[in-house]
Amino acid sequence: MAEERMEEEEEKEREKENAKYSILIPTYNERLNIALIVYLIFKHLRDVNFEIIIVDDGSPDGTQDVIRQLQQVYGEDRILLRARPRKLGLGTAYYHGLKHASGDFVIIMDADLSHHPKYLPSFIRKQKETGANIVTGTRYVKNGGVHGWNLMRKLTSRGANVLAQTLLWPGVSDLTGSFRLYERSVLEDVITSCVSKGYVFQMEMIVRATRKGYHVEEVPITFVDRVFGSSKLGGSEIVEYLKGLVYLLFTT
């Protein structure tokens, strides 16, 4: 009996060693960045079994042509293009990509290079070490950080974070970051109960996951904002965020 269990354990260990990772990247007009990011992913994940799933929302700038060229270089089995006809939103992009993912784990990252692929190994290592269901990248700890934000942006970010920490007790330090690794079944479970959009969507995902009792771990990441101005937070975003907070207070 004990021997059998041990064999089972070993089997599980082996499975973990050979785990497959699906890297999910939603794009819209990222023809240059997607090529750079694909190169960097292959550079930093040499001995890992992975596939890249790109969900492109009908970019008019030729993003999909570049992706096809990349498929010629790296192989169509490593880079999957799962396009959609037009801009349909981030949440549904993840859901769409997830349907085509064959990995045991799904990693979600942005295409604009604010998330650097060099952190992928630390996500994978952390998951293996702790057996976590979710590993989320955090910018607000030692060895993490942000570049390219002005004082106003930092202030709103800190304020939003303190508010969320005080009201929601989420147990993670970076709620709105979107560089994360999920066990596939966990992502499938959580994503179906999330309805928010934008920043709030990322927050809803992680809050619902902690409430469901999933094991969440954090790794430090740096966030380089290259497109100055794109991350400017307007009044409407702040209102949306506050609405999202209240929504989560009442529904989670």
Partner: protein
Amino acid sequence: MKHILKIMGLLAAISAIWIGLLETSVVPRSYTWLLPIYLIVTLGCYGLLMVGVGLMFFPTCPQEAVLLQQDIAEAREFLIGKAIDVGSD
């Protein structure tokens, strides 16, 4: 349990303690009446302090921007070698 219920529970517990203090008058009543105001002020101060501390020690990474530029140059070189069109930004 919905999270709002947890917070309501916490508030209810605090109110209960407060009413208890009012009823038993362990501390002078005039002090007890002021306690909720102190609590709100304390909460506000805590919030401001946390934002302030967060701003003071906001982790930044200017060196990462430089490293990223190097990575981009390296990737560009490789991609151009593979005849992938990365010319215009």
